[in-house]
């Protein structure tokens, strides 16, 4: 099969899977098999695409052209490949987890859940392979809309309120700011193609670059730069597999991915640096890193704490893009991967605790480690990777991000990164410490044991990856490297 059609298949397959899931809705086992088979095939497809890209294949495909000069156009470049690889591989892991979780938790409307999940993955793939800003925006919006029913899944008043915030902020920023930025770009340059070295450099007065760039950065609400971060904690009302894959990986990474794309292919890193467009924006990212960490420390609800941690970590990537040096871009791209594997492990563990012990608050976890040792072991691994300790993958991305701040001569920011790592230790490692070393309160010491085995399998896979990525970050590193070294 030619590479082009393989790329389309990566988008179409989850859609077909969604249709299959709806058709098999009455037979849960068959329905879950459809999900798993689709997820495995998608995983294989992205790996195959990766190897073709490594061999230097150039994969592009134009579908239709709704507006003159603005086709729906797909092209694989290193950053998109990296994102697709992460999302594609983790979908399978999450599916395994979701089966155990959804059944143990006796969630309703599971057919709708799996179908919308598959559609969300399809739009993630579309975002990753988008060859111009128009196509990217199209799938960006579809991703928002297809995840809305997942956030509102339980249908309770709280879920509806959360979903309203989710939709309101994401659509509000994308239509109000991002679309405006896209259209200004188009009316200036007459194109929205992603080109190496950017497209706006010759058309834009440097004085206005900062404004346009800010419209993009804040307009990409999925990157959750403060003050547009509120949707992410609000989305935590969703079932845990959704929080894990979509709100730690697909949706939020689609945001920072778009930020990187815009930085590298719309503006061009050289232009960002030379026009000092991001001089004041970096402080928004830095503030988000610190403030979100501080808020996370005060959250007692486990999933909300993880959500604020995600807000903080996302701004690492945004910061990487804003600094626009070679190392910082590599660090930002790598952090998409490293944070994905680590954070998904943490969410899996949070869900496992909810399913097995029915606990949602951090303060309830005392002594739980003795009943669920594996879950908390995996949690510790994920937490260490996020903090950036060796021998876990998270170290590499923090390393390159720190290098980036030094290259840019921003020692204050280096301090911010270090301080944030310390805060990470406090709010993340405190959780397993409490579980392992504190005494259980006497009120609820009935024995419930470990999480369902599918949840454990999923957690072990993702936490194993955190370790493997320390010793062998090569596949992702080479993609990040290609991103900054491709011929200008």
């Amino acid at each position: 099969m030619t590479g082009q059609w393989l790329m389309i298949l990566a988008i179409a397959l989850p859609l077909a899977g969604a249709a299959g899931i709806v058709l098999c809705g009455r037979w849960p086992n068959l329905r879950e098999s459809v999900t798993l088979v689709t997820a495995v095939s998608l995983g294989l497809i992205v790996i195959e695409l990766y190897s073709r890209l490594q061999q230097g294949a150039s994969l592009t495909l134009q579908l239709v052209e709704p507006l003159p000069g603005l086709p729906i156009y797909f092209a694989i470049e290193p950053l998109g490949m990296l994102f697709a690889l992460v999302a594609g591989l983790l979908w399978f892991v999450t599916s395994v987890y979701a089966i155990g979780y959804m059944r143990s938790h006796k969630e309703k409307n599971q057919t709708r859940f799996y179908a919308m999940f598959a559609i969300a993955i399809a739009s993630t793939m579309g975002t990753a392979f988008a060859g111009n800003m128009f196509t990217l925006f199209l799938f960006y919006e579809v991703l928002t809309l297809s995840t809305y029913p997942l956030v509102a899944h339980t249908g309770t008043e709280e879920a509806k309120r959360g979903a309203r915030t989710y939709l309101g902020i994401l659509l509000g920023t994308s239509i109000g700011l991002q679309l405006l930025a896209i259209m200004i770009t188009y009316s200036l340059t007459g194109t929205l193609d992603f080109r190496e070295g950017g497209i706006v450099a010759e058309h834009l007065d440097p004085a206005w670059v900062g404004v346009l760039y800010a419209l993009f950065i804040f307009g990409i609400g999925k990157a959750a730069v403060m003050p547009f971060h509120r949707w992410l904690p609000a989305a935590m009302v969703a079932p845990t597999p959704v929080s894990a894959l979509l709100h730690a990986v697909a949706v939020v990474k689609a945001g920072v991915f778009t930020v990187l794309k815009v930085t590298v292919y719309i503006f061009g890193t050289d232009f960002i640096v030379s026009s000092s467009a991001s001089d004041w924006l970096i402080w928004f990212a830095a503030a988000t890193i610190l403030l979100a960490s501080l808020v996370a420390m005060n959250q007692d609800n486990l999933k909300r704490r993880l959500a604020y941690s995600t807000v903080s970590q996302l701004s690492y990537i945004v910061l990487g893009a804003l600094l626009a040096t070679e190392s910082s871009i590599i660090g930002g791209a790598l952090h998409i991967t490293m944070h994905a594997f680590a954070k998904i492990t943490l969410f899996f563990a949070a869900g496992a605790i909810l399913v097995a012990a029915h606990k949602t608050e951090v303060s309830q976890l005392n002594g739980l480690g003795r009943q669920m040792p594996l879950t908390f072991l995996f949690f510790t691994i994920g937490a260490c990777s996020i903090i950036g300790l060796p021998p876990f993958g998270g170290m590499w991305s923090k390393w390159y991000l720190a290098m980036g701040t030094i290259e840019a001569g921003q020692y204050m920011l280096l301090g911010v990164l270090m301080l944030s790592s310390l805060l990470n230790i406090v709010y993340l490692l405190a959780i397993p410490a409490r579980a392992f070393f504190s005494k259980a309160t006497s009120a609820d010491n009935h024995f419930h044991g470990e999480a369902p085995w599918t949840c454990l399998v999923a957690m072990s896979l993702s936490s194993l990856m955190c370790i493997v990525l320390f010793f062998n970050p090569e596949p992702f590193y080479s993609l990040a490297r290609m991103l900054v070294t491709q011929a200008p």
Binding site: V64, L67, E141, G155, R164, L171, G172, I175, G176
Partner: protein, 492 residues
């Protein structure tokens, strides 16, 4: 031979069919005849459209009297495009009408209903065809009088008040238009549009011409529900029978917009409109229309009324396009005439399907129906997304051109208003979505069946058209681009 008569046939066939329908026995026969006529008109309209697609003009002299003395039907791409929308919407609405009308209209009035509907169609097509301003007024009255009747046939008694309100406002509008036409006739001695376009510049300085222009703009503004002259519209759309709401929402205001474009740009001229403060007025009213009507829509408790206010807001977008006074803005306006017809018809059809099942469109009555009528709900969501302007739908295309036009003139406030309008649309559409899907049904024990196929199929044809014209804009944007050249009098 037949080519030259196509345009005339489009007007003559519905006109002749109307009295025949009226004397047919009540039952399905009147519907069948109306359906046949509307489909025939659609085919003719497509054919006519293809004839002028390349920018050529069909001129037909009624009764063989040479213009400017006789009435001339002069079909360029603008006429053909509007006729295509009207005939196309009629062709989609009629299959939908069968069951909906049987339920809502008393049995003994069915043939009268269809006869009136045919007259309304005839009036609208006539407006689109004619090249004579007085003839245009006549057709406007035919369509208006028949729409008053159609609206009054709604099953609630409030339909009568709504119709009466529309009658008063509509008549004022028509009178203003007539006064305006009379004044320019007294100045130039001509009623032919092309002829007027040649003669009027000589008298542009005259105060009479300015007065005439003001009368015409206000009169037509009333018919197209230009903010703040829109007060008749929400009631009329809310209380009219479902099928009538669909048809009128998709066509009547669009045709009035066409009249506005024709009058302002071709009878008078681009230059005249921009020397007077007309363009600024359009921009101002457009902005206020978008903002106020969208906010009003959010507060509505009835789905049909909510969509009606949304229509007023959408007309605001079209006015903005006209007011920008640029090729890009006019393209946006013309494209939005087409796209808005598609999305609003689909939305009213979906709501009509709810009404068909439960007899009400009140937001508390439709709660929880989305789960029981998934296809209707799906149609409403997709058409709603198109209204919001999500990429991949027709609505996005018009918003795109409109915002580009605003950016081109560096009208940042207006660009932001347009995008904010989209966000307000998210709120009111989501109000419906949440009520339909996430609220508990009022009566859980009562199961509501999905709408019948004859309602669903037309709805989904329009929904798919919304997606198709969001991905393939060859037809709409090309037609709009050529239409703009005609409107701006650019020689081809």
């Amino acid at each position: 031979m037949i080519e030259t008569h196509t345009s005339l046939l489009l007007v003559v066939i519905p006109l002749l069919a109307a009295p025949v329908t009226a004397i047919l026995p009540n039952g399905r026969l009147p519907w069948l005849l109306t359906l046949a006529v509307s489909w025939l008109c659609f085919v003719l309209a497509i054919w006519q459209f293809m004839q002028v697609m390349d920018g050529s003009v069909i001129s037909y002299e009624l009764g063989g009297w040479e213009p400017p003395w006789g009435i001339e039907y002069r079909i360029d791409i603008v006429n053909a495009f509007v006729a295509l929308i009207v005939a196309g919407m009629a062709a989609v609405t009629l299959p939908y009408a069968l069951l909906s009308v049987e339920q809502e209209i008393p049995k003994d009035r069915i043939s009268l209903f269809y006869a009136t509907l045919l007259l309304c169609l005839d009036g609208l097509l006539g407006i689109a065809m004619t090249g004579d301003v007085f003839n245009l007024f006549v057709f406007l009255e035919i369509s208006s009088l028949s729409s008053y009747t159609l609206i009054s046939m709604g099953r609630q008694r409030k339909a009568l008040t709504a119709s009466y309100q529309y009658l008063i406002m509509g008549t004022i509008g028509a009178t203003f238009l007539l006064i305006g036409i009379g004044l320019i006739y007294s100045e130039t001695g001509s009623l032919n549009m092309v002829d007027l376009n040649n003669r009027l510049p000589a008298v542009f300085e005259h105060r009479t011409v300015h007065t005439a222009f003001a009368f015409i703009v206000v009169g037509v503004g009333l018919k197209l529900a230009m903010f703040p002259l829109h007060l008749w519209l929400p009631n009329a759309y809310t209380y009219a029978p479902s099928a009538v709401t669909v048809f009128l929402a998709a066509t009547a205001t669009k045709v009035a917009v066409y009249v506005m474009l024709r009058m302002v740009f071709n009878v008078f001229s681009t230059g005249f409109a921009y020397v007077t403060p007309t363009d600024d007025m359009f921009l101002l009213l457009g902005v206020f229309g978008v903002v106020f009507a969208s906010i009003s829509a959010i507060g509505q408790k009835d789905a049909k009324r909510l969509l009606a206010y949304s229509s007023v807001a959408q007309i605001g977008y079209i006015l903005l396009g006209i007011g920008f006074a640029s090729a890009l803005g006019l393209t946006a306006a013309v494209v939005h005439i087409f796209n808005h017809a598609l999305m609003k018809a689909a939305l009213f059809m979906a709501v009509g399907a709810l009404v068909y099942r439960i007899g009400s469109s009140h937001i508390t009555q439709i709660r929880g129906l989305g789960r029981q009528m998934p296809w209707t709900f799906g149609a409403l969501v997709i058409a709603g997304l198109s209204l919001i302007g999500v990429p991949g739908t027709a609505g996005f295309i018009s918003k795109w051109y409109l915002v580009l036009a605003a950016i081109e003139q560096q009208a940042w406030v207006i660009a932001i208003v347009i995008l904010a309008g989209s966000l307000l649309a998210v709120i009111y559409i989501w109000k419906l979505v949440e009520a339909l899907f996430f609220q508990p049904a009022i009566d859980d024990t009562k199961s509501v069946r999905e709408a019948p196929l004859s309602l669903l199929v037309p709805t989904w044809i329009l929904v798919l058209a919304n997606i198709y014209f969001g991905l393939n804009t060859e037809l709409t944007v090309n037609a709009a681009t050529i239409a703009v050249q005609v409107l701006e009098n650019i020689p081809q």
